[in-house]
């Protein structure tokens, strides 16, 4: 009885809290969860080590080092969401942007080019060191711009193509760039990429002595011990992600964002409404590439290296999986799904796998779960496409659309119109984008 009363009291208290919550202004209400999540994230380095390692199934939360990698991948997912989610352009070679970003950092902040000696704002690098050493903060920006330009260069010839052809072409670029990186150690005798060795080490970020003595910012991330450099890397990527999310949100709600979504919805109509298709699509590429470039450069300085094996086609699909699982175009969906998937990839599958092996399976039949990670992502992709194409947290408009579909919406149109136009003869013979059906 007492238990019941207590419960009732608690329930009434809860309902009172809920009531009070309801009276808060809309803006406060919608901002509160964001603030809480951000606060939890910012303080993560302080409590991560106190989380027990024997939780059921997942064992524990990711250690800080993995958390940094996870966030970098989430950032790439958010970048890809601009291309695939907003503009509806299927990019199967996003890893190319990642590679360009990473190698830009490699070129501009390491001893790779031993022929020259350029120093600009790099911290803790002896002035006698050969190579180009530019401040990582600047390198992040340069990498973003270089990658965006790369995105434009890749986009210009290819964005005229129909959706599935575009997917294939991006896939092609995604395959060529790693091979270029792998073989780029003897381009007419010039060592651009250092081949399979990769570029390593890459300078660490830091703020230098001036800022250190002025406001106590760390001189060099990898020298701050304790607390571990991972904390600094973690807070930095957190800041970068928040910035990315902010930009992505602003872009979505801008004139350009509307144009992207219009193109995704109906390319022909978008063109007829005065949207320059090529230019707008190219901006989507550039925007996605921009953030991919930052992420690539950041993980390069974090890992202190850029290696050709990092840029597998698998990574492109992995990122695509984040966007699909989260819901194409849905920013928060991509963040949540990205965090889950990246955690699975770097940590979770291993932990879950060992849990399965120790508790469910006999020692004679152990499964190496992480080995099948991409099979698992494949299953996620297919299941989502079959049963929940709008993703876990659908974009507002997409969610409405699904509800409509169950009642038989007035428009029996596909989610996306992949062809340039479906009117008779829209892409006539000989024009790019149209291939005779056979």
């Amino acid at each position: 009885m007492r238990g019941y009363r207590q419960r009732a009291v608690r329930a009434s208290r809860l309902s009172r809290v809920a009531e009070a919550w309801g009276t808060l202004p809309e803006r406060t209400r919608s901002l509160t969860p964001v603030v809480i999540v951000v606060a939890l994230a910012v303080t993560y380095p302080f409590y991560v080590d106190s989380v027990p390692t024997n939780l059921p199934v997942i064992k524990t939360v990711p250690p800080l080092h993995d958390a940094v990698t996870i966030l970098v991948f989430v950032m790439m997912g958010v970048g890809l969401n601009i291309v695939v989610g907003y503009a509806g352009l299927l990019d199967l070679g996003y890893v190319a942007f990642y590679a360009i970003g990473a190698y830009t950092a490699g070129w501009l902040a390491s001893g790779q080019f031993e022929q020259v000696k350029v120093h600009f704002g790099a911290v803790g690098i002896p002035s006698s060191a050969t190579g180009i050493h530019i401040s990582i903060w600047l390198v992040l920006l340069i990498a973003a711009v270089v990658t965006a330009v790369g995105g434009i260069l890749i986009g210009l010839p290819t964005l005229r193509l129909r959706g599935d052809y575009l997917a294939i072409v991006t896939l092609g670029f995604g395959e060529i760039i790693p091979q270029f990186v792998r073989n780029g150690d003897e381009l007419h005798g010039f060592d651009l990429t250092h081949g399979t060795f990769g570029i390593s080490p890459i300078d660490p970020p830091g703020f230098g002595h001036t800022l250190n003595s002025a406001i106590g910012l760390p001189v060099r991330y990898d020298e701050s011990f304790p607390p571990t450099p991972d904390r600094l890397f973690f807070w930095t990527i957190l800041a970068l992600i928040l910035l990315t999310l902010f930009c992505s949100m602003r872009l979505r709600d801008s004139r350009l964002g509307r144009a992207w979504i219009a193109i995704r919805e109906d390319e022909t109509a978008a063109g007829a409404m005065g949207i320059p298709l090529m230019r707008t699509k190219t901006w989507a590429y550039a925007g996605g590439a921009f953030f991919g470039g930052i992420a690539g450069a950041y993980i390069a300085t974090f890992n202190s290296g850029a290696f050709p094996t990092q840029f597998d086609f698998n990574i492109s699909v992995f990122l695509l999986c984040m966007v699909i699982l989260g819901g194409m175009g849905s920013l928060w969906g991509v963040v949540v799904a990205g965090t889950i998937l990246a955690w699975l990839n770097f940590d979770g599958l291993g932990n879950i796998g060992s849990w399965i092996n120790t508790t469910l399976l006999p020692s004679s039949h152990q499964i190496d779960v992480p080995k099948y990670s991409f099979g698992i992502y494949g299953i996620i992709i297919v299941l989502m496409m079959l049963f929940r194409p709008t993703g876990l947290i659908p974009e507002r408009r997409r969610k409405r659309e699904i509800e409509e579909a169950t009642h038989g919406g007035p428009l029996d149109q596909p989610l996306y119109e992949m062809r340039g136009a479906d009117e008779p003869g829209a892409g006539e013979r000989g024009e790019p984008g149209k291939v005779p059906r056979g």
Binding site: E265, A272, M273, I275, E401, E404, R429
Partner: protein, 267 residues
């Protein structure tokens, strides 16, 4: 049609198509068509299915490149220009089978139509500069006006696809008007409408005509609509112009009757 509109300063036609021709492979869709739309006129294009009306439309709006011939709009050669350039020059359109952006709200649909009239750049949008914010605010206001002008009330935040069929047609026109066209092309706007909706739509068109400085080119099947709304009618068959004149003249043209009676049975 009550008040006589002030006569435009320019006397020459708003749009002139000269010997426009379109071939698909071996198929001749539009054969050396000459066509003109006077300033502020309502002109109709009719003809049996497959006569080349929509093809002609698509050439005017840049969706197709003409095989030969030229299109002069408002004194500029727009032949073969991409759609967005033509839209910016002042031709707005609707589609035969409604092509709204289904998962955008009504308001957003109209805002997309304003794209070429807005200036907000990437950086301005990200940083939310006062100029961009003001522009966005004004654009939304104007979009709301357009919606209510088109007779769409309290649907600003409805998804386009959840609107009724008639409202979708209206929204498409509102979206086209948002491009600030001098010439509005309506491709079978009353197709699929019930009689009441058709009547309402005709009222809307005449209101449009009264309140805006705009010419209208109409493709229609419904003879009642054509005869009621337009000042001049052009009849196409097999890609060729077979007749042109006032609605009354057309109604009595033998070739037109033959073309319709001969083929109308199938389509």
């Amino acid at each position: 049609m009550s008040e006589p509109a002030p006569t435009p300063a320019k006397n020459d036609d708003l749009l002139v198509a000269m010997s426009v021709r379109k071939e698909f492979g071996g198929l001749l869709a539009v054969n050396d068509l000459d066509f003109a739309i006077p300033q502020r006129a309502i002109v109709s294009l009719i003809g049996p299915n497959g006569a080349g009306k929509t093809t002609f439309f698509n050439m005017l709006t840049g969706l197709y490149k003409p095989t030969a011939g030229a299109v002069i709009f408002d004194g500029h050669d727009v032949t073969g220009k991409p759609p967005h350039t033509i839209t910016k020059a002042g031709i707005g359109r609707t589609f035969q089978n409604i092509r709204l952006f289904p998962q955008m709200t009504a308001l957003e649909n109209v805002l997309v139509g304003m794209h070429s009239r807005l200036k907000g750049g990437i950086l301005g949008s990200i940083f939310g500069t006062p100029r961009v914010r003001r522009e966005e605010r004004e654009a939304s206001e104007k979009a709301r006006e357009l919606l209510s002008f088109a007779g769409l009330r309290r649907v600003d935040h409805e998804l386009a696809e959840s609107l009724s069929y008639g409202d979708q047609r209206r929204l498409e026109v509102a979206r086209a008007l948002a491009t600030e066209p001098k010439l509005l092309l309506l491709d079978e706007p009353t197709a699929g409408m019930n009689p009441q909706e058709t009547v309402a739509f005709l009222d809307f068109v005449s209101k449009l005509r009264e309140q805006r400085t705009i010419a209208i080119l109409l493709i229609e099947h419904d003879m009642k609509v054509v005869m009621g709304a337009s000042e001049r009618v052009t009849v196409l068959d097999y890609g060729e112009k077979i007749a042109e004149g006032t609605p009354h003249e057309i109604q009595h043209d033998e070739r037109v009757i033959e073309a319709y009676l001969g083929k109308a049975a199938t389509g």
